[in-house]
Symmetry: C2
Subunit: 256 residues, 2 copies
């Protein structure tokens, strides 16, 4: 009851609380400003992070912090989220407060392109990132710089910049995890390799049986060998009844 | 009865006849010299060839001709196979004779690296190729130059050379189809793009549910845009009973 009151007092207009079930975290969302999607959940599930071994873990383009909060279920290490948008970092920090996660998750308010001012190069073990998916094409309206637009379009952060900064922060053999769209596979692979990131594992995600992939998860290793790429088993999101497949349900809600 | 005698008289020692069911073609194989595998069948199925519209269709690294013979079921155009190995082109040509396919399939005995001496550049609409999959690593024994070794290892034809010659032969907007191994995806994509071949569609093939992909089918378009890559639905080869899946059975035997 006390928690519920605290929760409500931390919410701003238009915001709501959703629950990350497996982690038992209440996360502040907003359908007008920002709410995370399945992509974030699958990315956090895909990332290999050391559970107990000491490691520096950073989540780029953190949004309202979903990936960072989800990672707390997989590691005892603190997780650092980086987000450039005021409104989103504000939401993320209130979620920290609400769940008393001050020792587990923190957020840096920063542009990824200037991240080395805040995080030392060659110091990070694992980076996760759910970046803007869409190229900022000339046809798209630059005037609409709402939070969703900046989160979805490469306005403030382009793919080569993302890979450059990822590579700068990572230790040798550090690992980076991305979720992106398959139609940009070639650009992703090129930008990785141009920045000493060797693609190691790719998992394609299909909305359901018989459809083309509409998402992909990638793992890269800094200074890894450009050999031995693995294409993991496909992941289907929905079954023939348009419900989440068992695998996705287990990722979302746990298997118990 | 007469055909059977003719068949047998065309066989050399150690050879056998297998049947391409959908095409009703008897194909000469040899477990010691060369026999085609599922890869060839999936490649021929994957390739888009004009059924009636006049088109020049070439199959590189033809082996005993499996892909070329399979393509006769999809097009009324003649198919030209290219193979460098004496023993294999001999098998392929006897299969032509055996099935009276002289008007439909022909074979050129040539090294792909010298193919423009026989086929005019910028003249081909569709190229298919099931190339050697393995790099000729220093550790592999160069003395074993049996037909299988040459067919499987990049001894006479390396990936960049394959893409270079493919690109030279193709007309603008001509299409190329390859089957290869996923661990070489990066090299394949690089070699394509270094030779004006834009990757357009990729289909990953999985031995069964839960396993990593062990084969991939690729479509590239000469002078196509390097945008809009499609990752097609996965193809599983075996079901949980280790039998061919329905989809593979349909490709192998037709749906009737």
């Amino acid at each position: 009851m006390e928690k519920e009151e605290k929760s409500l007092s931390l919410l701003k207009e238009g915001e709501r609380l959703d629950v990350l079930k497996r982690e038992n975290i209440q996360i502040i969302q907003s359908s007008t400003v920002f709410s995370f999607s399945l992509d974030a959940v699958l990315l956090a599930d895909f990332a290999n992070v050391p559970r107990k071994r000491k490691a520096t873990i950073v989540d780029f383009c953190s949004g309202n912090g979903a990936v960072a909060f989800l990672l707390t279920g997989k590691t005892e290490n603190p997780v650092i989220g980086v987000e450039v948008q005021d409104a989103l970092i504000d939401m993320a920090r209130r979620t920290v407060q609400l769940n008393q996660l001050e020792e587990r998750v923190s957020f840096l308010h920063a542009d990824i392109n200037e991240i080395t001012q805040l995080i030392r190069p060659d110091s990070v073990d694992v980076i996760t990132c759910n970046p803007p998916y869409f190229k900022d094409l000339p046809s798209s309206t630059k005037n609409d710089l709402g939070a969703f637009t900046i989160a979805r379009h490469e306005i403030l952060l382009k793919l080569p910049e993302l890979m450059e900064q990822t590579s700068r922060l990572l230790k040798m053999n550090g690992k980076a995890y991305f979720v992106h769209r398959p139609d940009r596979l070639l650009e992703v692979l090129d930008a990785m390799r141009a920045n000493r990131l060797a693609p190691k594992r790719i998992r394609f995600i299909y909305p359901r049986v018989g459809k083309e992939a509409n998402m992909m998860l990638l793992e890269a290793i800094k200074d890894g060998k450009n050999e031995g790429l693995h294409i993991l088993p496909p992941l289907y999101v929905h079954d023939e009844n348009r419900e989440y497949t068992e695998e996705v349900q287990a990722i979302l809600f746990g298997t118990e």
